[in-house]
């Protein structure tokens, strides 16, 4: 079965990201396909490159990066939600006359059209948080 997921809350606001990670691991282990994880609303904070939790805390951003690398999962971050909150990739920062690159490796910037395309293709769409 093909799944599309959406994450709406930030790593330190709710456990949505963690439970979605656990869901993905279980789904992939059962042979299901994850078409896309779309980070929306405060969910975009999962993609902050410079999130630096203390050494004795697991980093949710790193958990997502490892998961994406291992299972080739598309981590799509909504461009409008991200820009509202100050998360810009290098290209977007340049386009807006700003500097910096806040997007963690393994994530990509995407538009709502790509969320819609994923919901159309998926057998199931699940919203977290």
């Amino acid at each position: 079965m093909k799944f599309a997921l959406q994450i709406n809350s930030s790593p330190y606001q709710a456990n949505a990201g963690r439970t979605a990670c656990a869901f993905i691991k279980a789904a992939v282990a059962e042979g299901h396909q994850i078409l896309q994880v779309f980070f929306y609303h405060d969910g975009i904070y999962h993609a902050l490159k410079y999130a630096t939790p203390p050494d004795d805390e697991p980093s949710q951003t790193q958990q997502w990066q490892a998961l994406a690398k291992e299972h080739h999962i598309d981590l799509a971050v909504c461009i409008s939600a991200a820009q509202r909150r100050g998360l810009l990739c290098a290209d977007e920062a340049w386009r807006q006359g700003k500097q910096g690159n806040d997007l963690a490796d393994g994530f990509r910037i995407a538009g709502l059209g790509q969320l819609l395309a994923a919901t159309l293709e998926a057998d199931r769409f699940i919203v977290w948080g």
Binding site: Y40, S80, R84, L112, G113, L116, F125, V127
Partner: protein, 118 residues
Amino acid sequence: MKNYLFVLRQPAHSGAFVQEMLDIILTTAAFDQPVSLLLLDDGVFQLKSGQQPEHSGYKNTAAIFNALEMYDVTAIYTEAESLAERGLVVGDLFLPVEVLARQEVAGFMRGFEVVFSG
């Protein structure tokens, strides 16, 4: 083509939540997909007449709801109990809505292929 239902449960001006949900709703309509909205709980306040968000520095999301008709989004539902529990009647809302009873909501949701929860 899929049937989309957007369930809105937050009041107007609860952070950027409402305007970001409206962004998805408008995108879905722009993709020519059939869109329905269901306002539950405090979500009914999103359609309350007489909002004056400019006094508090908020974006006027009521204006976006009023523009939905241009995108052929006219299927707007709400729940009788959500209105009654908040002292509201249909006449307090600025768009025409169809009212469901709470016991009908679960069955209503089953009629959609994609449900966005809010």
